[in-house]
């Protein structure tokens, strides 16, 4: 139990960070398309 809570918190942090990076990646790709 003592390791389950930090594990869950770590997973949530990573999921949020990964989704943020994907969103950033997508927005930059869209900007690149507009430039071209």
């Amino acid at each position: 139990m003592t390791t389950l809570i930090p594990m869950f918190v770590s997973l949530v942090i990573w999921l949020v960070l990964w989704l943020y990076m994907l969103r950033l990646d997508h927005r930059i790709k869209e900007l690149e398309k507009n430039v071209q």
């Binding site: 770590s10 990573w14 990964w18 990646d25 930059i28």
Partner: protein
């Protein structure tokens, strides 16, 4: 997209392994805190790789005299400094739960502060010079000196000066070079790979933003 999903899966594996497996047993006290090893050491190694990459791009600039290489060098160093700050922060958490306080001025802690100051001086130097050619010349030479100092501060200084950090001379618990079990490698290896991929991803995005700002894609 496949590699991005792969990165997600690797990090999920690292997180599960970090918290589900037995903690790495390098020390005699508070083994639970040694779980931070899977974050702290890969981040510190990526810092070193990033500063090495910054030097490589600095050398390419000095060879080709193309300002794009200077920008690559700056981006690599900036991301390296973010990873360096993360290594210092996670090391500080380890220090609190192992040695009682967040900061002990142990040789390893002092050396990472010195490394951070060296690279903060690199960015100060860049901001102090207006002429882009002069800035790139100075920064490229500095990136070489910075990486040489990184070798000294990360690998040499803390290994020749007695201190609290695992791997310091006189450390009987873990020895000069930490021996990892197979299970520890199963988490540490993917963790190092994942942080490295994360660094490359951040670097690629930064360079794309730079290209967009410059109005050209290279």
């Amino acid at each position: 997209m496949v590699w991005k999903i792969g990165l997600f899966v690797i990090f999920v594996w690292v997180i599960l392994g970090t918290w589900m497996f037995e903690p790495p047993m390098f020390g005699v006290s508070s083994p639970e805190i040694y779980r931070i090893f899977y974050f702290h050491v890969p981040v510190a190694l990526v810092t070193f790789i990033a500063y090495g990459f910054a030097m490589y791009q600095g050398l390419r600039y000095l060879n080709k005299r193309d300002l794009l290489y200077d920008k690559k060098s700056e981006t690599a160093a900036l991301l390296g400094t973010i990873f360096c700050a993360l290594a210092a922060g996670s090391g500080s958490v380890f220090a609190k739960f192992t040695w009682g306080t967040f900061w002990n001025w142990d040789p390893r802690e002092t050396s990472i502060v010195v490394l951070l100051l060296i690279y903060l001086a690199y960015f100060s130097l860049r901001s102090a010079v207006a002429d882009p050619i002069k800035k790139a010349n100075l920064a490229s030479v500095y990136s070489i000196l910075g990486f040489i100092s990184a070798i000294f501060t990360i690998f040499i200084w803390p290994r020749i000066t007695p201190g609290l950090h695992p791997g310091a001379p006189g450390d009987t618990a873990s020895g000069a070079f930490i021996k990892m079990s197979g299970q520890t490698w199963l988490v540490f290896g993917p963790s190092l790979a994942a942080f490295l991929i994360m660094y490359i991803w951040m670097y690629m995005l930064s360079m794309k933003v730079h290209a967009l700002r410059e109005g050209k894609l290279r």
